[in-house]
């Protein structure tokens, strides 16, 4: 049995309240979320199908990143054999398990009134 950390839940949700940012980032610019230096061809290989947000919120060890990379290659990501390990190393280094949680943006906020 394992206890999931609700303390983490608390700190994250509170942090999100303070970040009422509009979602004002075109998809192509989601690459800006990637901390550098980004390996060559990483953006084209990974961001062709999805944005960088789904990457930067992950906190995984090398084994898990390796499994994800291989799944993506199987699912059509164009990754040269020589780049695979470079990509995995980048992901493992930049998004490790002990990195602070990613704070997701919010869509524009409009106060609304609804009946209960």
């Amino acid at each position: 049995m394992f206890r999931y950390s609700l303390l983490l839940a608390g700190s994250l949700s509170f942090a999100c309240l303070a970040v009422f940012v509009c979602l004002a980032r075109p998809h192509a610019e989601s690459a800006d979320l990637l901390p550098g230096p980004v390996p060559a061809k990483f953006k084209t290989a990974c961001l062709e199908c999805h944005d960088a947000g789904i990457i930067v919120q992950q906190r995984l060890n090398k084994a898990a990143w390796t499994k994800e990379m291989d799944k993506m290659i199987k699912w059509g990501a164009v990754v040269d054999p020589g780049d695979r390990d470079v990509f995995i190393e980048y992901l493992t280094t930049k998004f490790p398990t002990d990195k602070e949680p990613y704070v997701a943006p919010r869509t524009a906020f409009k106060k609304m009134k609804h009946d209960r």
Binding site: S13, A24, R25, H50, K67, G76, K110
Partner: protein
């Protein structure tokens, strides 16, 4: 992101025009019309989480209803050409228009829809996937014909054991299509719908227009959006999102341990769970008199009771359940508490369902972070 103009085009397209590609939108002055204040877990594919403070209504406004997409939403759709086909192990295959579906007897089901991965962000060790915290859940009134009526019209053959749903999701690369199936027993349940409406209005694009399946009480993945194909099978559908996707280990596994898919089963009904909508976690409240409130749901079961602890779980007090009550829908609950003195407090909520299941303090880890339903908690500060 989608511009206002493109969004309006998308809305009109839901009548008979063409939907714009989400990825074309680049008007930074407009975020995501129709989705207000939502947490953006992913933009492409679009995954939006409801902030937990919005879990304070019986019916979640569409603007605040979470969005879960595995793929791109349909970029174009001509509803005049759209058909819902029913085939496979049936006597009379059908292809129905939306207008024909609207002419059938309409049933409304108020359903709490929750993503199986809601709470995944709290898994330790971390698991890959959308890092949902607490808000991949919402309650809506879904309306449309019963799936049972469609299947009866088509005439299910005795060999039919499962019912498969295929939608119009646009699949990138070689990603397997998002196709899943449910057992025939659940498919012919009178509350399983092909929904055309949500909260009294036509489905929006993000929620599956022109039609989506609604499988009440089950994980959200069962309720296929943009459905265009229903196929009766003689067995469970064999595809990535049935296996290895959306499966639970048959026995508890050690955190981080790999699981043999042969030793798993499909995730189906939601588990009993509660959320504290207010006070917010981390809040510094102004008064010692505190109104604690939230929601609780239990998949196919009813909520029997909700209890609240204001002393980190040492003692529990019953919360009051709201009168609004509908099978498959969450119950709102509330509890008034006067803090004895200023200081820091941990407030917990736990629900018990009509089958006798109570939210646990801990749950076994699983590789995909599914069905995490531990007691909820918030930490607050009360002034001295």
């Amino acid at each position: 992101m989608i511009s206002r103009r493109e969004f309006l085009a998308g809305v009109s397209g839901s009548i008979g025009g063409v939907w714009p590609l989400l990825s074309r939108a680049a008007d930074e002055s407009v975020a995501l019309p129709g989705k207000e204040g939502m947490i953006v877990r992913s933009h492409r594919f679009l995954d939006l989480e409801m902030p937990v403070e919005y879990a304070n209504l019986f019916i979640t406004p569409v603007e605040h209803f979470f969005v879960r997409n595995h793929m791109h939403e349909p970029s174009t759709l001509d509803v005049s050409k759209w058909r819902l086909s029913i085939g496979g192990e049936v006597e009379k295959p059908l292809a129905l228009t939306r207008a024909e579906l609207l002419k059938m007897e309409q049933r409304t089901v108020t359903n709490t829809l929750e993503c199986a991965g809601n709470g995944r962000a709290f898994a330790v060790p971390h698991v890959p996937g959308v890092q949902w915290q607490k808000g991949a859940v919402g309650t809506a009134r879904f309306g449309g014909p019963r799936l049972r009526d469609l299947l009866e019209r088509a005439g299910v053959k005795p060999a039919g054991k499962h019912v498969m749903f295929g939608g119009l999701d646009e699949v990138p690369g070689k990603v397997p299509p998002f196709i899943r199936s449910i057992p025939i027993e659940k498919a012919i349940d009178g509350d399983t719908l092909v929904a055309l409406n949500m909260n009294g209005a036509r489905l929006t694009k993000h929620h599956g227009f022109p039609a989506r399946v609604v499988v009440p009480g089950w994980i959200g993945a069962a309720s296929c959006k943009w459905v265009t194909e229903i196929k009766v099978l003689d067995r469970e559908f064999d595809g990535n999102f049935m296996s290895p996707g959306y499966r639970m280990p048959n026995q508890p596994v050690q955190p981080g341990e790999a699981v043999n898919v042969a030793d798993t089963h499909p995730a189906t009904a939601l588990k009993v769970k509660s959320l504290i909508a207010s006070p917010s976690d981390g809040a510094s409240v102004k008064s010692r008199a505190i109104h604690i409130q939230g929601v609780a749901w239990a998949g196919e079961a009813d909520i029997e009771k909700v209890e609240v602890s204001t002393d980190s779980g040492t003692t529990w007090q019953p919360a009051q359940l709201s009168k609004n009550h509908s099978r498959y829908a969450w119950r709102r609950w509330s509890h008034f508490w006067k803090a004895p003195r200023g200081g820091d407090y941990t407030i917990l909520s736990r629900a018990t369902d009509s089958d006798g299941h109570t939210q646990p303090d801990s749950v076994p880890w699983n590789p995909s972070g599914y069905l995490i339903n531990v007691v909820d908690q918030v930490k607050i500060h009360v002034p001295v």
